[in-house]
């Protein structure tokens, strides 16, 4: 079976969003959905579990159906060889070295052709996610259909050879959608910008009671009386954990605080383990720094940690979109972050958070925030409203519907 059935626990997702984000945010979405009455959407990606795209699709498909836009989700079948090839495509599009052999290219097309035969692509609006199923369009496109390619990947450093392989498939679509302007390659079709979003109902972002927070945080043995300065990121040099420690130590000379560096376990990433080791060595013997290696499913713990933090950092040297920033802003946290990638869209300097460019700048802003509860409150409140309007799932759903509405209207 390739059709993924969306399970429901009987509660209305729409109602959940309404309670969490407010009616005003949903009104526009409901109205755009009405414009698509009589149309049918098919989403296609390559996995139903694991990864951010599958997470979003679970919610999105259920939400669109509740809004009265019949939407199904097809998962492209594959085998180990195909996934090996698509992993290479994924990594090289992210800028890693690698290439595709002629056999790899043929196999990629062959698997897309087979998927085109097997999948139920009978909707008139088809949204294909990421490169794996991108070539299905060549085999299954019908005249009455509108096809959109949604790229969740940062293509700003894409390997030109691999992009040239994929680009002819992308140009068969009516439009493409990218997360950030820096990710958009030159294309002859309309390219829309739709930023990614967070789910306010997920374990990572839902409201927690004080008791829940205590239960989640007690085992971590973090000091409860000191303000926490927290960065949640995998242990990777581009997230600059070493720079975070340096900035904290400078700020610590002025104000008492505790640094929490929390990241995922790095079992399958040798460099990650190396970076984790470097950070641990750097802070060895310090009682005011905690380095936590968390399991990948520690969503509730991260949620509780962000909520208890006085300042949340994202001092990356390079970024894709960095939705951890939106996660912190949604929790009304004061955020200090680097002005890279998609961060400036989320952090409007001095309005929803503070942008920095150096270790000293980061230390200065941490100190400033530790000293002013009023500044933290003002930035946190504005940050939450900014995320409510721009970086929650209902807005992303609304944008997809608007793209289709535009294509239908223009008869593209």
């Amino acid at each position: 079976m390739t059709l993924v059935t969306i399970r429901s626990d009987g509660s209305s997702l729409l109602e959940g969003y309404r309670r969490t984000v407010g009616q005003r945010t949903l009104t526009v979405l409901e109205r755009v959905a009405r414009r698509l009455k009589g149309h049918r959407i098919v989403m296609v990606n390559s996995t139903s579990t694991g990864g951010g795209v599958a997470e979003i699709l679970h919610r999105l498909v259920a939400l669109l159906n509740e809004l009265g836009v019949p939407t199904t989700w097809e998962v492209m079948p594959g085998d180990a060889r195909f996934y090996g090839i698509t992993k290479t495509i994924h990594n090289t599009l992210h800028g890693w070295p690698g290439s595709l052999s002629p056999e790899d290219r043929d196999y990629f097309h062959e698997m897309n052709r087979r998927a085109a035969e097997r999948l139920a692509l009978d909707g008139d609006l088809v949204l294909i996610h990421d490169p794996q199923p991108a070539a299905i369009v060549a085999h299954r496109r019908r005249p009455h259909q509108h096809w959109v390619w949604r790229c969740h990947i940062d293509l700003s450093r894409a390997n030109p050879e691999v992009w040239e392989f994929l680009a002819p498939e992308v140009t068969r679509y009516d439009a493409a959608v990218f997360s950030h302007v820096a990710f958009v390659p030159p294309l002859p079709i309309p390219a829309y910008l739709v930023p990614p979003s967070i789910d306010p109902l997920s374990d990572k972002n839902r409201e927690l009671s004080e008791e829940e927070e205590d239960a989640l945080l007690d085992p971590l043995d973090l000091p409860s009386r000191k303000p926490w300065i927290t960065q949640v990121s995998r242990f990777d040099r581009i997230k600059d954990p070493s720079g975070v420690v340096d900035a904290f130590l400078l700020a610590r000379k002025r104000e008492d605080a505790h640094l929490v560096l929390a990241g995922g376990t790095a079992d399958d990433d040798p460099e990650g383990a190396e970076v984790l080791n470097e950070v641990q060595t750097k802070v060895a013997g310090r009682s005011d720094v905690s380095v936590l290696s968390l399991p990948p499913d520690a969503h509730l713990t991260i949620n509780a940690m962000q909520r208890r933090s006085t300042v949340v950092l994202q001092k990356s040297l390079r970024e894709g979109f960095a939705l951890t920033v939106s996660e912190a802003l949604w929790k009304r946290r004061a955020v200090v972050a680097s002005a890279v990638g998609g961060i400036p869209l989320q952090v409007l300097h001095e309005r929803t958070g503070l942008l920095v460019r150096s270790i000293e700048g980061c230390a200065f802003q941490i100190t400033r925030l530790l000293r002013s509860a009023e500044l933290r409150r003002r930035l946190g409140q504005a940050g939450r409203e900014h995320v409510r309007e721009h970086f929650l799932h209902p807005r992303e759903a609304c944008d997809y519907l608007a793209v289709f509405a535009r294509l239908i209207e223009r008869g593209i």
Binding site: R18, R19, T20, V21, G22, Q23, R24, T27, V28, R31, V32, R34, R35, V181, A182, V184, P186, P190, A191, Y192, L193, P200, E207, E210, R307, K331, R332, A339, V340, L348, H349, R351, T352, L355, A382, R384, E385, H386, R388, E389, H390, C398, D399, A402, V403, A405, R406, E409
Partner: protein, 255 residues
């Protein structure tokens, strides 16, 4: 009053036009050749994009010149040009280009962004959305404007009059209905670049104050039981507004 007026909302889709500015000179070239949708998106759409921010929303041009190029004086002057929003696309373009031309050419080339800090020109594509709300007179219109989402107000009072001035707008409709004073208030309410919610609050306050005298005059001529009923309705309306405002302030009720 003329035919009932239908209120619309919009969803703004955004797409890159393929041009980037690296310094003040390439910013000038970009502005000189930009479409109305592009200029509008960067100059005025921030008013909607950052409607949650209580301070004056920054336009994209001056925000970039200030924050990335770090030329405060030019940024201030660009801000001024946008805030005093020239009435048309051509006037705005001219005002912005003049500000940039006032910087000597050599300096325009020298005042540049760091790597990866280019200004990316974007174009706005508005997808219209029906609200199902119609106003048959000024009173009904103002009731709707008090309740609709910010994008509806933005579309009718900022976007449509600026991007499509030839097409009859909400303000024209109010004028046609004979309420010139309200038409003028609507015209001025957001054109000063106020944050949307603040603009709406001021407009509503003005409107209610203007209705006060008329309501009192009408009420004095009414019999006692009608006055009592009107008083009851006014209190009920006030309670409803306060409750709605509390609910919309924070539906999350979080800590």
């Amino acid at each position: 009053m003329p035919e009932p007026f239908e209120l619309h909302g919009v969803v703004h889709l955004v797409r890159p036009i393929g041009y980037r500015a690296h310094d003040l000179e390439s910013l000038r070239v970009g502005i000189a050749g930009a479409s109305a949708q592009t200029l509008f998106y960067h100059a005025y759409q921030p008013q909607l994009r950052y409607s949650a921010v209580t301070d004056l929303p920054p336009d994209d041009f001056s925000a970039w010149v200030n924050g990335v190029v770090q030329d405060r004086e030019t940024a201030e002057r660009l801000s001024f040009a946008v805030q005093h929003r020239a009435g048309s696309c051509a006037e705005l373009r001219d005002a912005l280009v003049q500000v940039l031309l006032s910087v000597p050419e050599k300096a325009r080339l020298q005042r540049a962004a760091p790597d990866e800090g280019d200004f990316v020109f974007l174009e706005m594509d508005s997808v219209a959305v029906e609200t199902g709300r119609y106003a048959s007179d000024s009173v009904e219109l103002m009731q709707h404007l008090a309740e609709v989402e910010p994008v509806v107000i933005f579309y009718h009072l900022v976007e449509q009059p600026w991007l499509d001035p030839e097409r009859p707008s909400l303000i024209h409709w109010v004028e046609k209905g004979g309420d010139r004073r309200l038409a003028e208030w609507l015209r001025l309410s957001l054109m000063s670049g106020l944050p949307l919610e603040e603009g709406r609050r001021r407009l509503m306050r003005r409107w209610r104050q203007s209705r006060l005298g008329r309501s009192v005059a009408e009420a004095t001529a009414s019999p006692e039981h009608e006055r009592r009923e009107a008083g009851r309705r006014a209190v009920a309306g006030l309670v409803r507004r306060i409750t709605q405002s509390e609910q919309s302030d924070d539906p999350g009720h979080d800590s």
